[in-house]
Symmetry: C2
Subunit: 316 residues, 2 copies
């Protein structure tokens, strides 16, 4: 039996046909057209399902279901996207609309929640009952799994771990509030911190590295840091602290077995994860008495979205 996982992003919709073992057998992609409302997005998703069946020479009867991972606040129980800024959805009844195109069971959840499901089923968290999955990208996505169940939040609203406050009256966040973790520890925040350091340290290697890389990116500070640059070291040290501070809040609440770091920044590698882990170990509550969770890198990479959405259809 197969499932189809659909990863809906602001730019593109990616869909994959997945077998029992978590292998993606076929993939299809199309652009996300958000100007024509949710009906168009759902129609395009259904089109990808049809194409995947055709390519694999199977019918809907060979499928156990369709899982959809979507950014924003999702009411999974009712199949509704409560709100998604990226997709311009507001109380969009995605599952009901999708059922006009298919007789298959259709499930939807927040994309970060799906990524957490995928990592615990097929990735770095395989076999783990409780984990926190963090995606350090443009923003911060969070997925919480506790005793093998997603903690999606009441009222059908996915947990918004990126908007925990780590600094009262601190940096302005895209959500309109101040001091959110996302405003300090996302890739966007790191780029801002790097630019500030460049403006304040005209002789820093950061400037040369950014020139070589063609722009200031989430990698700039790390590259200059590895070459021993002082200003870059300060940027990286602070960034590690920002990432760890939010993690400590989440760890002190959930005490998961592992924390899985994903998103562009996590590709920086083991030394970065180790720096975060060291900070977390030194500052978590009850560090003297209690076991602490491991911090690991997400392993599903670009496939995490499709696999996570597919996992949603498998476990339901």
């Amino acid at each position: 039996m197969f499932v189809i996982g659909i990863d809906v992003g602001g730019m593109s919709i990616k869909a994959g046909l997945i077998d029992d073992g978590g292998h993606i057998l076929q993939k299809e992609v199309c652009p996300t057209v958000i100007t024509d409302g949710y009906q168009r997005v759902v129609k395009d998703m259904a089109g990808l399902v049809a194409k995947l069946c055709q390519k694999a020479d199977i019918t809907e009867k060979d499928l156990a279901g369709v899982g959809i991972g979507c950014p924003g606040s999702i009411d999974s129980a009712n199949g509704v996207v409560t709100y998604s800024g990226n997709l311009n959805f507001n109380n969009a009844p995605i599952v009901r609309e999708f059922k006009k195109h298919t007789d298959l069971p259709v499930f939807i959840a927040n994309d970060a929640d799906c990524a957490a499901l995928g990592e615990t089923k097929y990735g770095s968290g395989e076999g783990v009952a409780s984990c926190i999955m963090i995606t350090l990208g443009t923003g911060i996505g969070t997925g919480f799994i506790y005793n093998n169940k997603l903690i999606q939040g009441g009222y059908g609203i996915g947990g918004e771990g990126g908007h925990i406050c780590i600094e009262m009256d601190g940096e302005l966040c895209t959500c309109g509030e101040r001091g959110c973790w996302e405003a300090y520890a996302s890739a966007t925040a790191l780029i801002r911190q790097t630019k500030t350091a460049m403006a304040q340290n005209k002789d820093s290697l950061l400037i040369k590295v950014a020139e070589e890389q063609g722009k200031v990116s989430g990698r700039t500070a790390f590259t200059a840091y590895k070459k021993g640059d002082k200003a870059a070291t300060e940027v990286v040290k602070n960034y590690v602290k920002y990432v760890a501070t939010g993690l400590i809040t989440l760890i002190n609440i959930f005490r998961p077995e592992i924390v899985i770091l994903g998103g562009g920044i996590s590709n920086e590698g083991e030394y970065f994860i180790k720096m975060v882990e060291d900070y977390v170990k030194a500052h978590s509550f009850g560090k003297e008495f209690n076991k602490l969770c491991r911090i690991v890198k997400a392993s599903l990479g670009n496939e995490a979205g499709i696999l996570g959405a597919g996992t949603l259809a498998m476990i339901n």
Copy 2:
């Protein structure tokens, strides 16, 4: 059928015989002797169980079980207090020890978790599936109930919501870290903030109120605030913000149906709860699109500990 709920505090052990309807039929109290190790504390708890049976003229056979609420990090699955500073316990196997005195099922959980259970069974959260219970006292206790289940945290460590960071490099907390919510929003923190305001505002009504009350307490700032004192208004306004900021972090993660405020500070009354609720509503994530939880006062008062511990025995 009855259960016995035992509330173990640093000063006293309170036990109650509870019927199906959540009525405490008999109560017994004894001092907590922490100098002789956990064996003595358990022996005294067993003594209270025997006394309650005697007073009610019942035997162990009329009891469904014993529930124990205990401060600190608890491994409920194994019946062990991993660590409790108040009780000087370190990996104390309470349930195993208790079974030397009784054939009854014995359960143990963190006292704040028990309070949350009690409030959702018999108190302000009756009938609610997901809630956050916060105790604003000497420290901050937190209990999380999600879809009718306690979120106790992995590794058998209760969620330590008092130690989420709301201000990096902020006020020093009793846990040794800086910026914990507890260091801003506990009654202890409010007293410190009140004393600071008194030192900085020699003409403030705060000084007269503290004199009248015989000391600076968690009530001092509120009393002077209600009389229109400027410095007290500043203290109360900031304190509301501190309480709300931690709540917003927890709400953005869990999206509970309700937040229940308990502990001494919550006795300040409805106007204080309303101030906290207004701040939370104005600053939670997705406030424009998503329903927000209500904030209510805990209703079980002094009985919360016994009833919560008893609930633990009922639901297991």
